[in-house]
Amino acid sequence: MSVGGRKIDASGASARTRTSMSVGGQKEVASMAYEVELKNINKHYGDFKASDQVNFGVERGRLIGLLGPSGSGKTTILRMIAGLETPDSGDILIAGERVNELAPGKRGIGFVFQNYALFRHMTVRENIGFGLKVQKESKSRIRERVDELTRLIGLDKFADRYPMQLSGGQRQRVAFARALAPSPRLLLLDEPFAAIDAKVRKELRGWLRETIHKLGITSIFVTHDQDEAVEVADDIIITNRGRVEQAGTPLEIYRKPHTPFVADFIGESVHVPDYTVFKGFSARGGSEHPGIIRPEFIEIGLDDREIAMPLAAEHGIVRAAYFRGSNVGIDVEVKGQILKAARSLEKVPLQEGDEALVLIHRILSFEGGQAKTIANQSKRKESVVI
């Protein structure tokens, strides 16, 4: 996968199953292998720049999450690929062919709308079969395909119900099946989980990921929820203010954010204006030393016995401790700054006002606009936390 012309290795890091074609080293070959490719896409709405020189390519069979805050232009990208919006400039390629002028219905895409846009007066069966009916498929063929799909989504018993008689999760699955029915080569999903309750959402995420991988269909989904993107997608594309900030596997993005925005948007980040105040972190030139510290960069302990290298640790005071279900979140003040840490429920609970030892393993710095991970130099060996 490449972003803005830079080649990013997305082939080695993911442990998930995949059916992607191998990508050659040469660029021309690479662009031929993309199932979807956006080249220099720009789109304005009045003064608002929804897409600003957007470039990326998606290999066949990959499940891509388009992640960004609202208004970052991710839905616009999805709608442009579908043909629901037209870019002001740039090319959209599907299977190597330019589709800018092609009507949405002729692009071979399936689209799952945010609120599903199910045809409210048609049954589940009629909804799923509509795309095939439009293509003038035979009745028996439609029936066969609809049966197959209702079974796939586990709603074969509900095939004659109307959308209003279904729960949110069921509707979402019907929308999914309806998009899949004409066997598109590309599946696009706009905030597929936004309208579903938290608990069902969790289940659906896993179901959707597995089903898409089983079918091997190239898919792009839009989300503003980083947990969702990390959990479901093979690769994530992060958008901000109409630009693609970074693309890569969730792990890469997490560990090597390219821009302050990505570092800030992914994970729980605390900004520190000057990281050189902390033990083990010295200046590397320049006059300003801003950085980001995440809870997983920090180890917090009550005393020497709980911390591996007490000499490298700072002294801090616990300012707040709050139960978070699977662990305890702790706000700890170190050198006048509040850092966020997490502590296992199995350990002795810390309370407000307690003194604690805080070992900062790593810091993300952004000197010169480049993101860099800096390890604590007081430690002899780096320990990987993630």
Binding site: G83, L84, E85, T86, P104
Partner: protein
């Protein structure tokens, strides 16, 4: 025209149908009228449009429509309130009946109302007994315009009242406000916008109304001649210029009413975010 992509088909087709139809049915006649009217010249227009007898016609139309719209405003609000807030036998029929003036041809309403309100009529006898001529008078015109305007206010206020969140009233009640105070200070302000809209629609309709009014008006010059009737009279005398001049003034009045209401609504949205 538009810059956004037309994903849904049918833009050109519906645009074609709409513009063709509007041009033919609306714009062409309007253009013919404007062409004719502008050919008249200012002096003639002033002379024809503001003759004393015709001025009196505007006054009658305007005053009676205003009075009818005010009465409809009051009863329309009561009707909307009763239909939304209370349960009682016959409510559905009452609700359905409100639209009768939309469904009943105005000429039928006109002859029925006239027969009701003449001196020997079922209702007229009471009016005449106390010295109020209820037919062939301004009172009669107003009665006919009340009939015509009944649905406007009720149908504007009803949906807004229905959608009013009960929490607002509950909050007022919890703060110790009594029913009447709650209505005046909490509910009524929410209803002013639809009330005004309904009022304006009834008012504008009243000024242009003809069918239901001609019969009961009596059409005595300088007394009960309404503006639309004057257009008819001029047409019968083949004075097309005078008819056009009156029509221009009537249209101006209608547009002014509707525009000022529109302006007020916009002002409210801007100033109060209603």
């Amino acid at each position: 025209m538009g810059s956004a992509s037309k994903v849904i088909p049918g833009y050109r087709f519906t645009q074609g149908v709409t513009f063709f139809y509007i041009s033919l049915i609306l714009l062409l006649p309007l253009a013919a009228f404007v062409l004719f009217a502008t050919g008249m010249g200012w002096e003639k227009f002033i002379g024809k449009a503001f003759e004393y007898r015709i001025l009196h016609g505007y006054l009658v139309s305007f005053a009676c429509a205003l009075a009818a719209a005010i009465i409809n405003g009051i009863f329309g609000l009561i009707l909307a309130w009763v239909l939304v807030r209370y349960e009682f036998p016959g409510k559905r029929i009452m609700d359905g009946l409100i639209d009768l003036p939309f469904a009943l041809p105005t000429a039928v309403a006109g002859i029925a109302l006239t027969t009701l309100y003449v001196e020997t009529g079922w209702l007229g006898q009471f009016f005449y007994a106390i010295g109020l001529p209820s037919a062939f008078s301004v009172l009669g015109i107003t009665i006919a315009l009340i009939f015509v305007g009944i649905p406007f206010v009720t149908r504007s206020v009803q949906p807004v009242l229905k959608d009013l969140e009960p929490e607002i009233e509950e909050a007022a009640a919890l703060l110790g406000a009594g029913k009447w105070l709650t209505f005046r200070k909490v509910i009524f302000p929410e209803l002013t916008a639809p009330l005004l809209t309904g009022f304006a629609l009834a008012f504008a309709r009243g000024i242009g109304e003809y069918g239901s009014v001609v019969f009961i008006a009596g059409n005595t010059p300088f007394e009960t001649e309404i503006a639309p009737l004057l257009i008819m009279t001029e047409l019968e005398q083949f004075d097309y210029q005078a008819a056009a001049a009156i029509a221009i003034v009537m249209m101006a009045i209608s547009f002014l009413i509707l525009l000022s209401i529109n302006g007020y609504q916009r002002y409210r949205i801007r100033e109060q975010g209603v």
